[in-house]
Symmetry: C2
Subunit: 158 residues, 2 copies
DNA sequence: GTAAACACCTGCGAGTAACCGGGGTATACT
DNA sequence: AGTATACCCCGGTTACTCGCAGGTGTTTAC
């Protein structure tokens, strides 16, 4: 019961879960086909990136509600990026995925001990630096990185 | 089955869980009483920082196995810092708590897709920046921060 | 040498979240 | 109409966090 007492906005993880990776991979796939105006189907993305399609469906729904992708229903439907690939940062993706339904609940700061406040402050600093890194990469940057790495692989193969 | 397919060392979280906070609070308490050579009992720490004592017992065991605290059994026993407060960094604490038993299992890098490698690279960068922040704070620094904040609270009260 | 105080170990149970699949409904193309 | 697709609800497994209970081993105090 009550678990930890306070439920501040301390729950922003920085781990690379399958959830996050799947979402980024899907967005990367959408970004790669951004020039054609045709939407990509879930199964195409899933097959291309080796993601379980039923799970990807949920993730794309979350991304849609977060305003990162657009959907088109019916036959020949699918998903499209809501904005240009260079206008979507990784920070938006990560924030969208774990936003969930956490209510900060307007916590009374006087209840916290001094020690807790100090710890909280440092963790905020860590999150801040993580945000900066994520903010610094757009989907376009990721695509460029992928292309560069592909070139390297080819040269290594020869 | 198999969950994610690969089990690289991607599992270092940056969230502030109760687990981590409890451990840091306990270490802070030990650091505060570091000058007296007498060990602190679990219940004393638990009562002082409002931590469930049975749970704190497990955390202190982990910290002991990680070499961060020393224990003294029997009556008049308890826990002591294994090193000076200015020689223990937050990075050591965090690493100790979730080190668990994850074997990197020498993963074959050729199985990863190019996209996954790109994502992995960025997450490594995030972890690196987080490490640097944690590495920059010792238990002594935390104590100093606490004292400074206490002074502020007093002045604010007047 | 007996009792008390303490660390130490194992295990359990509720809660939560990530991770997947089933099955049905709504919508658009042909 | 029929088909293909997104959309939605609802389980189910696994794993982890948090916390409690019971028992054992070790040291000090009387």
């Amino acid at each position: 019961m009550e678990k930890c007492g306070w439920s501040i906005q301390r729950d922003l993880k920085v781990e690379l879960s399958c959830k996050t990776e799947y979402a980024v991979l899907a967005l990367l796939e959408l970004a790669a086909h951004y020039r054609e105006a045709e939407p990509l189907q879930i199964r195409q993305i899933a097959a291309q990136q080796n993601i379980p399609d039923r799970y990807l469906e949920q993730l794309l729904a979350t991304l849609r509600r977060g305003g990162l992708v657009k959907s088109q229903r019916g036959a020949k439907g699918g998903y499209l990026l809501a904005r240009e690939p260079w206008e979507i940062t990784l920070l938006e993706v990560v924030s969208c995925l774990e936003g969930s339904d956490s209510k900060p609940s307007t916590h009374d700061t006087n209840l916290k001990t001094v020690e807790s406040a100090v710890i909280e402050e440092i963790w905020q600093e860590v999150h801040k630096t993580a945000y900066k890194v994520w903010q610094g990469y757009t989907l376009q940057d990721l695509c460029d990185k992928r292309d560069a790495r592909r070139q390297l692989d080819i040269m290594y193969y020869i």
